[in-house]
Amino acid sequence: MRIVLDRAKCTGIGICESLAPTVFEVDDRGELVVLAAEVPEGALDEVTEAVEGCPAMALRLEP
């Protein structure tokens, strides 16, 4: 599964990072960095939670 970020919607507050820190990290300027293009082995649950938990609906998963 590919992780897709819509930068136009992302507010950089990082709710996703608190749910899936292996994949999402906010940098010093408040920009979200997606650390993995694909969902890493064993991380699907937490990445799904982060995608569904994004209050800005800026994340989605694509097959």
Binding site: I13, E17, S18, L19, P21, E25, D27, D28, P55
Partner: protein, 411 residues
Amino acid sequence: MSASAVHAGPRSLVVVGASLAGLRAVEAARKAGFTSRITLIGDEPRLPYDRPPLSKQMLAPDGPTDPVTFRGRAEFDELGVELLLGTPATGLDPDAKVVHAGGAEVPYDALVIATGAAACGLPGTEGLAGVHVLRTLDDARAVRRALDEGARTVVVGAGFIGSEVASAARKRGLPATVVEALPAPLVRSVGRELGAALSSLHTRNGTVLRCGQAVAAVEGADRIEGVRLTDGTVIGADLVVVGIGAMPRTEWLAGSGLPVDDGVVCDEFLGAGAPGVYAAGDVARWHNVLFDRSMRVEHWSAAAEQGARAARNAVAPEDLRPYSTVPYFWSDWYGSRIQFAGVAAEDGVEIVSGDPAGDHFVALYREGDRLTGVLTLNGQRHVMKYRRLIAQHARFDEAVAFARASATTAS
């Protein structure tokens, strides 16, 4: 899984309140596979729009004047959501399962209450031009117009929204004063010591901060001319923005029998004490199991999450799930970003990065031996790491050790 198996329950969903929580509620219901009728009722005559920019980008001289709407009308049609906008709800009969709105009766099987909160005004200033709260698009446009005209600005209340207005005024080089009735600002939000640290941003950026002063009187016949404080000082003003808090919009529920106590009282599933009725957003007081306490939060992310959870529970009552969260908010002052997650327990605060007198710090809060909160100033990289630790019930000493280890790695 067949649609009929999922929807043997509710045949219609009504969501009252068309801001972020209400919007996320109707979206989540459809996402969950709910195919029956959905009605979204809102009192403002416009599509749901994003409120955080109202006190931020929209107050800048070159900022947008139109709100960010999440979805156009056509997209609501596509979603199969009937909109009743400009239609304040006036009553609820949970026995008949009917919402009264705009003189009509709207029947429901499942209901999400997301009527938000209303900003408190300053008594005695009704009808006086130049005095505003900041909650709606109309408020924001009025404040922006006054700033565009070069208003001398007085903010009543040293909270987050008022502080953002003061910041916007100073950015334009306009004189700004923040008046706070309590002896120290932000005590309830972030504690005394760090409230003082954040408030020093005001003085460092040329805003006058007057604590321990209430507004004794306002001057001006039709239009605000000045504000008289309890010590007799008069501050000339063309714009007064009142940021002294908000009250949950529960007045329309009077007589409904729903439990109301500074918000609609909900269980951990956001269930509001009547069959099929849930609440979400600023209006909801619910039991947050993560902290084992009753909470009502006026935060953007919680409104979005609660709206979605409340709707999912409402349309699929056979699969109820609790809503718990580490509350989170942010505020932008003078080009700096303030972020807070958790609760500001007063058992102890430790600065683990930066300096409260400077432009960056990370502060951790403890309750007993547990980490309960984190406050950062320009600490975007830090805050969510601690939010996760708070959600994991981390001990305070573990969090401090984590901070030290991160500092070592970073240097």
